[in-house]
């Protein structure tokens, strides 16, 4: 954990995404001047900070009604037994507030969104909660998370208490419904601690933009008809998957683990991967070119994106993907996971108006193109021959 210490921040103001990894706190007693913090706390009792809300729950409403009833009876009859009951009810409300404040005081949290996210597939969105108290456990906290576009919502409850100094991760398996840019928002912190009389919430929107890749769909390609027209593969001196060692280099994120050269790693004391000459198997270039007019139907365009992403992934897994040609761009080589993810990122952002003719005809590879069929289907063509349909 290489986190920075909590930074005081006015509640209710959104936190920039780049600071989501920082631990947040409710803003109680984080300053080094305890006297000033105490004064501020007293002021906050009368004028809650922005974003802080305290509302009675059903139990709280019952308690308030009971207070009113018993108070009326006490004033009416001067019965001190009723005054005692009223005083106890009021002090239980007071105690509830103090305990709630104590509970909040020790709470630190941060949004942990790692991804990748793919439409139709679940991936964890986590909130890490830390108990900064030295002696008291942390109980009964909930976080409200939602997404900006998909309007998915989730309340993450802290089910068990967190012991002093411990950290737990509350996970939400979020299944995005559609591709594109999305924002995960940690909306507020909610607690009914300790007796459930008051629902105290602190609005502290932490926004984390995420990119949702297109969904993977079930649309296998059949290359039998296209095979006859396939050009022969050629020897390549480029790095890729093969049997002959081309080079050793330092490990980069995204490199497959099976490429790690363990002996060299042990010798050099750092992770080293091997690069092989690419085998001269036949490969494909997926072209995402086309005209904006042909993708007028939104649902069909979404299907196209999903189909393209599926084809790109399948070919990559089969080691037969040479590159992907985006509209008006030269074909991007896709040799590792990082490049594949970059393609998915681009596909996630792709809009019909971005479509246009492919930038370059591939050499030594078959070009896979897509076009709409009817009002719903999308065809995948290899050199003009249909190899798949979604």
């Amino acid at each position: 954990m290489s986190e920075v210490p909590p930074v005081e921040r006015e509640a209710g103001t959104p936190v920039p995404a780049e600071r989501n990894a920082e631990w947040r706190d409710p803003g109680f007693f984080v300053r080094r001047r305890p006297l000033w913090s105490a004064v501020r706390l007293v002021v906050q009792l009368f004028k809650p900070p922005r974003g802080h809300r305290t509302l009675p729950t059903r139990a709280g409403a019952v308690l308030i009604l009971l207070c009113l009833g018993i108070g009326t009876a006490a004033f009416n009859t001067s019965q001190n037994i009723l005054y005692i009951a009223l005083a106890l009810l009021l002090s239980s409300l007071l105690l509830s507030g103090v305990l709630s404040w104590l509970n909040f005081k020790g709470c630190r949290w941060r949004l942990a969104v790692s991804g990748p996210f793919r439409a139709g597939e679940s991936a964890p969105v986590a909130v890490e909660v830390h108990n900064a108290h030295r002696r008291l456990p942390l109980y009964s906290i909930a976080f409200e998370i939602d997404t900006h576009i998909g309007a998915d919502k989730k309340v993450l409850h802290l089910r068990r208490g967190i012991l002093p100094g411990d950290t737990v991760k509350l996970e939400w398996l979020w299944k995005p419904s559609r591709r594109g840019e999305e924002v995960v928002i940690l909306r507020r912190l909610v607690s009914k601690f300790p007796f459930g009389f008051l629902r105290k919430s602190i609005e502290f929107p932490m926004e984390h933009p995420v990119l949702v890749w297109p969904a993977k769909i079930d649309a296998p390609l059949t290359f039998s008809r296209a095979r006859a027209a396939r050009p022969m593969g050629r020897l390549s001196h480029r790095a890729g998957y093969g049997a002959d060692l081309r080079n050793l280099r330092d490990y980069r994120p995204g490199d497959p683990l099976r490429q790690i050269h363990w002996r060299a790693t042990a010798r050099q004391g750092r992770l080293t991967v091997r690069e092989d000459f690419e085998e001269t198997r036949h490969s494909y270039v997926v072209s995402l070119g086309g005209s904006a007019r042909q993708w007028r139907l939104e649902a069909q365009f979404e299907k196209f994106c999903s189909f393209a992403a599926t084809v790109v992934e399948d070919l990559y897994r089969a080691g037969r993907l040479q590159g992907v040609a985006f509209p008006r761009e030269r074909a991007r080589p896709v040799h590792n996971l990082g490049e594949l993810h970059a393609v998915f990122d681009a596909l996630a952002r792709l809009q019909p108006q971005d479509c246009g003719p492919a930038g370059e005809e591939p050499r030594f590879a078959t070009l896979l193109t897509f076009r709409p069929e009817g009002s719903e289907s999308v065809l995948c063509l290899a050199d003009g021959i249909t190899v798949g349909q979604a």
């Binding site: 954990m1 290489s2 986190e3 920075v4 210490p5 909590p6 631990w23 059903r58 139990a59 019952v62 009971l66 018993i70 009326t72 009876a73 006490a74 004033f75 009416n76 009859t77 001067s78 019965q79 001190n80 037994i81 009723l82 005054y83 005692i84 009951a85 009223l86 005083a87 106890l88 009021l90 002090s91 239980s92 007071l94 105690l95 103090v98 305990l99 630190r108 830390h130 900064a132 030295r134 002696r135 008291l136 456990p137 109980y139 009964s140 909930a142 309340v155 409850h157 089910r159 068990r160 208490g161 012991l163 100094g165 009914k192 601690f193 300790p194 007796f195 459930g196 004391g269 750092r270």
Partner: protein, 737 residues
Amino acid sequence: MESRLAKLDYADLYRMKWILGGLLGLLSLWNIFSLDLGLDWMVRGAAILMMAAVLWPPVAASLPAWFWRVQTPVIVVFVVSDFILAGGDFIPPLIRMVILLALLRTLQPRTRREDLQLVVLTLILVVVSGVLTLEISFALQLALYTPLVMLFLFVVNLSESFSPEDTVPDNAWKRFCWRRFLRDVRGLFDSRLIIFSGVLFSGMMLSASLLFISLPRFELGQTLPFLTMQARGTYTGFSEQITYGDIVSIMNDDSVAFRADVGPVRPRRSPYWRMLVLDEYTPEGFSVSESLRERGRSVSSNFVAAPAVLRQPRGGTPWTVYFEGGVSRFLPFPGSFGHVRFQSRHDVVVGDATGTAAMREAPGNVLFYQLTGLQHADVLPLHEADEPLIRALAGEASGGGKKAYPLTTLGLPGDAASLRVLDDAVAAVRGGDTEAMDAETFGRRAVALLQHGRGYSLRTDIPEGDGDILTRWLDSDVAGHCELFAGAFVLVARRAGFPARVVVGFHGGDWNGFENYFMVRNRHAHAWAEIFDPEQGWLHFEPTPAGLSGAIGQPSEEATAGGTQAQADRTWAAYMDSLRVIWYRRVVNFDREQQQQLVSGIGAVFQTVRDSTEATLRSAFSALREWFGGPWDLRHILILVRNIAIAVIVWVLFRVALRWVLTRARIRSGSARTRAKAGRFLRRLRAAGADRESGGPDSARVRAELRHIRYGPVVSWPEVDAVFRSARRAVRRAARV
């Protein structure tokens, strides 16, 4: 605790809240037992069922859902019928309804909403029973109920995190074992948590006490109707119609009838607490005549002027009486006074001519009232109602027909045998003195005659024969009790032509040596007599032999009037009783006046502190000014330098001591110890030569993590134990190299 806390699941919480709910239900019935509402069978049944639900929870949980669904209409039918059958008395059916609902909620599997209902129902039972009984046990009940209900609500709140949909877990009672459950629960509490809970509870009690003291008392005078309980029955000895032996039966009861707070100084005279005056003679005993009853003045207020014959405009010590419920509707008065002040509005019938007052209904719970300006009174002054008596004694005709009060105070037995006995007694009192005798002299002689050779006994064997029972006893020499002495005295006085009446109430009381108040028990019930003097009014006479009245088989040490006083009661029972009076004084009877006194007292303390501080500062300032205004010579300057040096040294020492204390406190704290340990590991690594980059990536990582623990924020520490283990290995490796 750590492992247990981590394993706590919904079923555990459900089990805890079930048992806590059962305990809440049981606790809420505690004070209901002391209510005299004829609910004993129901309360006992509910308590047994609740206990069964707590002890054998799987049994209740195994009942089918339809069984619980059927209960609701059954209870509705029962409650409606109960209210209809109860007529206007709505408190018993109301309490029965709440008990039934609480029982249902205790026994059936509950959702969170039903948990809240259980809390509300038990709270209603606790408060209502507390209001109706005003017992000190309410304080204990509340002291137990409050933490229990807090824990219950806490568990209910925690369970919401597990089941936002508010469902009942299916597996809650599968393989349930009390031993394992208790072991698990015990594992949840460590000493730190218990201390913290104790501090919180104390804080809550403190804040509740402060709120109780500071809540404004508006005294709206009970403009809205509220729960008041009427006694189901009272002692027959304290009613308008008393037959012989009624008061004796009360005297066999040793329980406290009322307590009287008379201030710190014990009165020198043993008080007579008059409750009612019996004017009419009947063969069965004395009673309150219809005409006297009709003379009552009805008042509905919380501030009632004393009866006219007892009215005392002058100031005196206020006495507070805590009158137990179910004793009588007649209020005991120990002398003349100004006003009766009740806690709330009451309907009172005041007998101005007799110096008595009665509630419309006998209170079912403790009644508080304060008598302002109380003074002792041996003679009740003349009242306008006594005019017919004065005329009758002057020989004027009183008119025919049935005699009305006050002429009823001259009524006698009609049979010749009784009259003969009375004539003999009158002759004995006069002793051959043929001159006119005043009432006081006659009364004194009559008392002497009655007490001559006659003892005191609660058991009397009055000879059979003709005539009135009193005259038969008078004609014999058997011992008697206060009713016989007072009754015989009245008849003798009346036969001699003096109007007389019997007064019933209490005499004396045990003096509580712990809190200085009278504990007047039922065995202190007493009857005495009043004789009419046309010039003075009604004179008090005590015909019962001195030193023997009010005792059950044992003579009291207390003198009847003005004699030696009994020793203060300092037994264990008296101590327990004094707690009750403290409860009454400080809590139940706490009113706006006491509140104002408290505020004034606090204000006076602040004022005193402020005045003394101001005076000290003024004198110090004037002394300083005088010193600076003096001649400045070398000695003067040296003194100034010396004082400044002392002040600087004291300040520096203070800062050093403060820093030392704070440093020690930081070292004692867990994080400081861990930081110090990380620092030691860093030094050992440096000493072993493992601080160079040549130490390898592992060594560098360990050093980075140690530096993080040493200087970084606690929240971002890595796993401390793992780092220290790695550091230990790194030190060993470096040492080997």
